[in-house]
C-alpha cells in the first residue's frame, strides 16, 4: 500500500547557519525627510500607528515602523481596469529600467536580484454571449533577497517596481529589514528531523494513506521574513517544503510549509536579542 507521504531524497544541505538579527530602525524626522524627498514629496508625515504616512495629491508614501519597509504609490495609479492596452517594455528592458530607478530613490540593494516580470491583467465581459476582452494594465519587476546564498522566503523580503502608461513607475515597494549577521553560527536540525516535524504537523493529523496523498516536491533551506508591519528581531532559518496534497474530497492542491531549522535554546536567543520562541515549529 502506498505511503501517505512522498518526500524527495536529499543529501544534507549544510550543518550550520548564520543568524541575522534585524534590529528596529529608528525612523526619525531626518529619515522621513530623506525618503520623502527621494519621491519628491513635501507633505507633513502622519503617524498612523503601524505606518508613517506622507500623502499629497500626487502620491502616498508609507514607512513601516516595525521594519523600515517602504511603499510608495502614485495617486490614482490603481485604476487597474483601464480599457486600453498599454505597450510595455520587453522583460529585459523593464529590468534594465527598474534597476537604476531603485538606485535613484535609494532602494537598491545588493542582496536583492530580479526574480520575475509579471503583469496585472483585466478582463471585461460585456455580456454572457461575448468573449471577455483582456488588457494588460501594469508591468511589475519583482526582486527576491538572499543571504549567504540562501533565499529569504516570506512576504517581508521583496522589492517590486510597477510600470504603467508610458512605462512610468507608478508604485514601488521594498519590504525588508536591514540584517546584522551574528558572529557565531548556529547548528541546523538535520533534514531527517525537519521531515519528521513536517510529517507530524497538525495539518496532516486527520489524513489517512487510504484516502490521501501528500507529496513534497521540493525541500529548500532559507530564511523567513514576516510581513513588514510585524516586529521580527531575527530572520528565521527555515526548511521550506513545497508540494501538493490530494484527498478523496479535494483533489490536488498545493502547499508550502516552513519548518524552523535551527536548534537553539531559548536563553541563547534571548541573549542575542532575538525571540523566535513564539514562532511555531512550522509556519
Amino acid at each position: 500500500m502506498a505511503n501517505l507521504f512522498t518526500i524527495p531524497e536529499l543529501s544534507e544541505i549544510r550543518r550550520e547557519i548564520s543568524i541575522y538579527r534585524t534590529p528596529l530602525k529608528t525612523i526619525d524626522k531626518e529619515t522621513i525627510r530623506k525618503i520623502s524627498s527621494a519621491f519628491d514629496m513635501k507633505a507633513r508625515a502622519i503617524d498612523s500607528g503601524s505606518r508613517i504616512m506622507v500623502k499629497d495629491r500626487f502620491g502616498v508614501l508609507e514607512i513601516f515602523e516595525a521594519s523600515g519597509s517602504i511603499w510608495w504609490t502614485k495617486q490614482n495609479r490603481s485604476r487597474s481596469e483601464r480599457r486600453k492596452s498599454v505597450r510595455f517594455l520587453s522583460e529585459k528592458k523593464a529590468i534594465e529600467k527598474a534597476n537604476p530607478y531603485l538606485k535613484t530613490v535609494g532602494l537598491a540593494d545588493r542582496k536583492a536580484k530580479p526574480k520575475s516580470v509579471s503583469y496585472t491583467e483585466t478582463f471585461i465581459e460585456r455580456s454572457k454571449d461575448k468573449q471577455p476582452t483582456g488588457v494588460i494594465t501594469h508591468q511589475h519587476v519583482n526582486y527576491e533577497f538572499s543571504l549567504d546564498d540562501l533565499p529569504v522566503f516570506g512576504p517581508g523580503a521583496k522589492i517590486q517596481v510597477t510600470f504603467s502608461e508610458n512605462n512610468q513607475v507608478v508604485e514601488v515597494l521594498k519590504f525588508w529589514r536591514e540584517p546584522k549577521k551574528e558572529r557565531r553560527k548556529y547548528k541546523l536540525i538535520s533534514i531527517e528531523t525537519a521531515i519528521k516535524i513536517f510529517q507530524k504537523h497538525e495539518a496532516f493529523w486527520d489524513l489517512s494513506k487510504r484516502t490521501a496523498k501528500i507529496q513534497a516536491n521540493e525541500i529548500s533551506l532559507g530564511y523567513y521574513a514576516l510581513p513588514p508591519r510585524e516586529i521580527q528581531v531575527c530572520l528565521i532559518p527555515v526548511y521550506r517544503f513545497k508540494g501538493f496534497v490530494s484527498t478523496k474530497d479535494f483533489a490536488r492542491y498545493d502547499f508550502a510549509k516552513y519548518v524552523v531549522a535551527v536548534d537553539v535554546e531559548a536563553d541563547t536567543l534571548k541573549k542575542i536579542g532575538g525571540s523566535i520562541t513564539a514562532t511555531p515549529l512550522v509556519i
Binding site: S78, D206, T247, A256
Partner: protein, 397 residues
C-alpha cells in the same frame, strides 16, 4: 451600522489537510473592522449551506438569507478551489459551496472575501486548449529540461513534470518566445517532437508537409528551415499517420516513453520495447492533471452568483495559511481605502510576489460604480449593480 459575518475552517476531518491560521485570520478581520459583528462560525459550525441560496443548484438546501446574505461583508478563511470554498463537515449539505448553488446580494451582501486558494482562477485563453484544439506538444531540453510544451494556434502552455501541473501565467504567444519562428508556421502547427540520440538538443515542429528544426542551445530555429517532411522522415507508426495532433517525449518518472495525442485520446509508446504500451489509447483529461478546461473561466463560474453583490475578492493562485491578512484588510478598510485597494494591499503585505490577488466585480445600472466602493461610513458605496457586465482583474502580490 454595517454588518459583518465570518466563517472559517481549521479542522477538515480528513476531507483535506487541516489549516493552522484560519481562525486568527477571520477573527482578525472580524474584530478589527468597525461595524456590527453578526456571526462568527468556525470549524464544525461553518456550513456550506450558510453560503447557498435555497432552491438553487444541487443540493438545494441553502440558508444564505439567514447568514451570508444577511450581512454587508462576509469573510471566509479555509480551503477553496475554482468551484468554491470547502468545509470541514458535509452533513448539512455536501460540504462545498459550489458556484452553481450561490446567489448573493438579493438581500444584503455587498462584498465577499475568500482567504482561500484559487477561487478566482481564470485562464482567458483556456478554451484554446480544450479537447480537439490541441495541436502539438514537446519536451524541453538543455536549459528548458523538466518542462513540457503544448501548442494551440499562436499560443502555448508549459507543463512542469515535477509538479505534474500547468505552470502559472500560460498560455503565451509562440512568436514572442520561440526565436526565428517562420511566419509560415504562424497560426498553428500539427505536431512537435524532441530529438533523441544523435539528434538530441533539437526539436522538430511539423506543419502540413513541412517541418522546422529548433536548437535548444541557441534557443532559435536552425537556418535553412522549413524543409519538406517526406524527404527527410521515414517509418513513423501507421496507426497515427496523417492524424497525429501531437507527440511528446516523457521525462523524469516518465522517461523512456513517448506520448502520442489524437483528439481527446493519447497513447503511450515505449522506446525500449519499441511499441505502444497495452491499455492505450486513454482519455487525456483523466490522466493529465490540472488540464485547462471550461471551469477555468471565472465569468462562467461566478457570473450568476451576482444578484446585487458588488465584488468577490480572492486569489488567482494558491495563498498561504497565514494569520494576518484579515486584520490588515480590515485596517485598510477602516483607513478609507476602497474595498478593492484594501484587498490588494492586504494581499501584497502578506504574500510573496509569486501569489496573485484577484477580484471579480459586477457593474451596470444608474449611478453604479462598484470599483470605487468603500466600507460603509468610509466613503462612496455604490448602489447595487444590475449585473449587466463583469470585470475581473488579477496581479502579483
Amino acid at each position: 451600522m454595517a454588518k459583518i459575518g465570518i466563517e472559517w475552517v481549521k479542522k477538515y476531518h480528513g476531507r483535506a489537510s487541516n489549516l493552522s491560521n484560519t481562525k486568527k485570520q477571520a477573527e482578525g478581520f472580524y474584530n478589527k473592522l468597525s461595524g456590527t459583528r453578526s456571526f462568527n462560525w468556525g470549524d464544525d459550525l461553518a456550513w456550506d449551506q450558510d453560503f447557498e441560496e435555497s432552491g438553487v443548484g444541487s443540493p438545494a438546501t441553502g440558508t444564505d438569507t439567514t447568514w451570508i446574505d444577511s450581512v454587508h461583508i462576509a469573510f471566509f478563511s479555509g480551503h477553496g478551489g475554482p468551484t468554491g470554498p470547502l468545509f470541514g463537515v458535509a452533513g448539512y449539505d455536501n460540504g462545498r459551496a459550489h458556484h452553481s448553488e450561490v446567489r448573493w446580494g438579493n438581500q444584503t451582501l455587498d462584498w465577499i472575501a475568500f482567504d482561500a486558494c484559487k477561487i478566482l482562477r481564470h485562464e482567458g485563453l483556456s478554451k484554446y486548449f480544450l479537447t480537439g484544439k490541441l495541436q502539438a506538444s514537446i519536451c524541453g531540453d538543455d536549459k528548458f529540461t523538466g518542462k513540457g510544451y503544448f501548442f494551440s494556434g499562436d499560443y502555448y502552455i508549459r507543463y512542469d513534470w515535477n509538479n505534474d501541473n500547468v505552470d502559472i501565467g500560460y498560455p503565451k504567444r509562440i512568436k514572442d518566445h520561440w526565436h526565428n519562428w517562420p511566419s509560415s508556421f504562424n497560426g498553428g502547427i500539427d505536431a512537435a517532437l524532441c530529438g533523441d540520440g544523435p539528434f538530441s538538443g533539437k526539436a522538430y515542429f511539423f506543419k502540413g508537409n513541412s517541418y522546422i528544426r529548433y536548437d535548444w542551445g541557441s534557443d532559435a530555429v536552425d537556418p535553412g528551415y522549413p524543409k519538406n517532411i517526406a524527404s527527410h522522415w521515414h517509418g513513423w507508426p501507421n496507426s497515427f499517420n496523417g492524424g497525429i495532433d501531437a507527440v511528446l517525449l516523457g521525462d523524469g518518472p516518465f522517461s523512456g516513453k513517448a506520448y502520442f495525442f489524437k483528439g481527446d485520446l493519447y497513447l503511450r509508446y515505449d522506446w525500449s520495447n519499441d511499441s505502444v504500451d497495452s491499455g492505450y489509447p486513454k482519455k487525456i483529461r483523466d490522466h493529465w492533471h490540472n488540464w485547462p478546461n471550461l471551469n477555468d473561466d471565472v465569468f462562467d463560474r461566478w457570473r450568476d452568483s451576482f444578484n446585487g453583490l458588488h465584488i468577490i475578492l480572492g486569489f488567482y493562485t494558491t495563498c498561504n495559511d497565514e494569520s494576518k491578512r484579515g486584520r490588515y484588510f480590515a485596517e485598510y478598510l477602516n483607513d478609507g481605502y476602497t474595498v478593492i485597494e484594501a484587498w490588494k494591499k492586504a494581499c501584497k503585505e502578506t504574500e510573496s510576489s509569486d501569489a496573485k490577488w484577484a477580484y471579480l466585480r459586477s457593474g451596470g445600472g444608474s449611478g453604479v460604480n462598484t470599483y470605487n466602493d468603500h466600507w460603509h461610513g468610509k466613503g462612496w458605496v455604490s448602489p447595487d449593480p444590475t449585473n449587466a457586465w463583469c470585470a475581473y482583474s488579477k496581479g502579483s502580490c
